[in-house]
């Protein structure tokens, strides 16, 4: 066999493997989606006490039942995304442009939570931090797992940024605030948007910390999913899963568009 034939064979096998892997990962999601839309007997009873006949009624039921958890998840995400950016991005810039004694250590410390199991951190938070409302403990737990993503994404972007623009602005007499507002932030905007998307995706799906920290009134939607899976019939659980996925899919596509290579690292499972 010529090396060209071997290479072609190699390439075809590789593509086939990749397609197979993607299909294997998608298959259970597609079957679940079918469960929310199909009326086949196999998928089980659609009614859940209330009469749930049509698919739209099914989703209506899910949103009615889990509305509060959805709202809670929305509130958590709305607090976590801006806080993660405000805390993480200036530090990431400083680590590269204004290093100080101990800045390397602090940067390393920022990613440590990724190797701490969420249950362990959640338990320790409950035990050691008193007088803080549960909602903010939950936000703190989410921040611990999302800040590393911001520090890394923005840090990588600063590294590739041409520092001469900042210096030029300084020579021309621009103050620090003006330089930040007119040079640094606009140049870092893609990485800031990417960070925000990553933080959103992680925070929206986070379960380990949320479930332990959640009081019955503070259930986030992933914790609500757990209750759905253990108590509701299959079509209701399937519809709830689709409601969970609805914001995730566009965010993931946007992440790919912004080149989110660093996405993978340390998302809590």
């Amino acid at each position: 066999m010529s090396s060209e034939t071997v290479r072609k064979l190699f390439r075809r096998t590789g593509i086939a493997l990749t397609v197979l892997l993607a299909l294997a990962l998608l298959a259970p999601i597609l079957i679940t989606a079918a469960g929310a839309f199909s009326r086949a007997e196999w998928y089980g009873q659609r009614s859940e006490g209330a009469e749930v006949a049509s698919t739209s009624a099914l989703f209506h039921y899910v949103i009615e039942t889990w509305g509060r958890a959805l709202l809670r998840s929305g509130q958590v995400v709305a607090a976590v995304v801006p806080l993660a950016l405000l805390i993480g991005a200036p530090a990431a810039w400083a680590f590269r442009r204004r290093p100080f004694p101990g800045s390397r250590l602090l940067e390393a410390a920022a990613v440590v939570p990724l190797a701490i199991p969420g249950v362990a951190l959640a338990f320790s938070l409950i035990q050691s931090v008193h007088g803080v409302p549960r909602f903010w403990l939950l936000v703190g737990g989410h921040l611990a797992y999302t800040l590393p993503l911001v520090v890394r994404t923005v840090g990588n972007a600063v590294e590739t940024l041409d520092s001469s623009l900042e210096s030029a602005a300084r020579c021309l007499g621009a103050g620090p605030l003006e330089r930040a507002a007119r040079i640094t932030v606009p140049l870092l905007l893609p990485s800031l948007i990417l960070s925000a998307l990553l933080v959103f995706a992680v925070s929206w799906g986070e379960f380990n910390v949320s479930f332990l920290l959640a009081s019955p009134l503070l259930q986030t939607f992933p914790a609500g999913l757990y209750l759905t899976y253990t108590t509701n019939s299959f079509p209701v659980a399937a519809a709830a899963t689709l409601v969970f996925l609805a914001p995730v899919v566009p965010v993931l596509i946007a992440i790919q568009a912004f080149g989110g290579e660093e996405f993978h690292r340390g998302l809590p499972a």
Partner: protein, 273 residues
């Protein structure tokens, strides 16, 4: 301004900008973890730690977590090598679509993955139903609730992590090295052994670190699927909420976090982030 005072001022600016991060990490990570370690030195905490480390259900849970996470990390690495290479180094139609599809499970919480496994391999799962329709015999029904089901679920959320970690490493491989070796007459095997593997070793290790840490902390999958085979995060939850035994829960947390952190550090030793 002298260069010296300029550096000092710039260091102060840097420290000031990083202050919120420092404060957050101190209050929400360092303090709780120090508290967790401190528990081990109280009377109840010390006793509980002894209990957790002695032979019994707690140690079994820790060993189970360790074994399951290590096995799933290794298996997901093997499964991901080919696809990650293809996504990083080859061009073909639909590549971006495939990448998005593979990255989708990254955002799934453990309970969702557990539920998907029930959909596939539960008592009336899709695969047993399919087998029954094709062969008329009932096979694999309820496999989701066995060790195999748990293992497959861990693979499900680890494979996307492994593919994405490997892909970004493969992308940074210098192509020139390989072609230079080829020009110098090195065969495919030699190129793999002397260039490919040494270049890939850090990526392989960081992939193992990422997937291992994610599995050690995973809790939702076991919450849905675990019947007899228990894992440490599940035991922590049970001790905390079921038995209200904070000493044992704390000791388990400490042991689990220590094991995960040590393995993670060992795997990423000598590497830039």
């Amino acid at each position: 301004m002298t260069p010296r005072s300029h550096t000092a001022a710039s260091a102060w600016t840097g420290a000031l900008l990083s202050l919120p991060l420092l404060l957050f990490l101190s209050v929400a990570v360092a303090w709780p973890l120090a508290h967790l370690v401190g528990r081990a030195f109280t009377a109840g905490g010390g006793e509980a730690l002894g209990q957790v480390l002695a032979a019994g259900r707690y140690r079994t849970a820790l060993v189970n977590s360790l074994g399951l996470s290590a096995a799933a990390a290794a298996a997901s690495l093997l499964l991901s090598l080919g696809p990650a290479w293809m996504l990083a180094r080859e061009r073909f139609r639909g590549r971006d679509l495939l990448r998005t599809a593979i990255s989708l499970p990254l955002t799934f919480s453990g309970v969702l993955v557990g539920f998907l496994m029930v959909v596939l391999l539960g008592r009336i799962g899709a695969i047993p139903k399919l087998i029954e329709a094709l062969t008329g015999r009932e096979r694999l029904s309820g496999m989701a609730y066995t060790f195999a089901g748990l293992f497959l679920s861990y693979l499900y959320f680890e494979v996307p992590r492994a593919v994405m970690t490997l892909e970004s490493a493969f992308r940074r491989f210098p192509r020139e090295l390989d072609s230079a070796a080829r020009t110098l007459g090195a065969g495919a095997l030699e190129r793999l052994l002397r260039i490919g593997l040494p270049l890939a070793a850090p990526a392989l290790r960081s992939t193992l670190a990422v997937t291992f840490s994610a599995s050690m902390g995973s809790f939702g999958v076991a919450l849905i699927l675990s019947r007899r085979f228990t894992v440490a995060p599940l035991e922590i939850y049970t001790e905390m909420t079921g038995f209200l035994n904070d000493d044992v829960a704390g000791a388990l947390c400490l042991a689990l976090a220590t094991i995960t952190l040590v393995v993670d550090r060992l795997l990423s030793m000598g590497q830039r982030r």
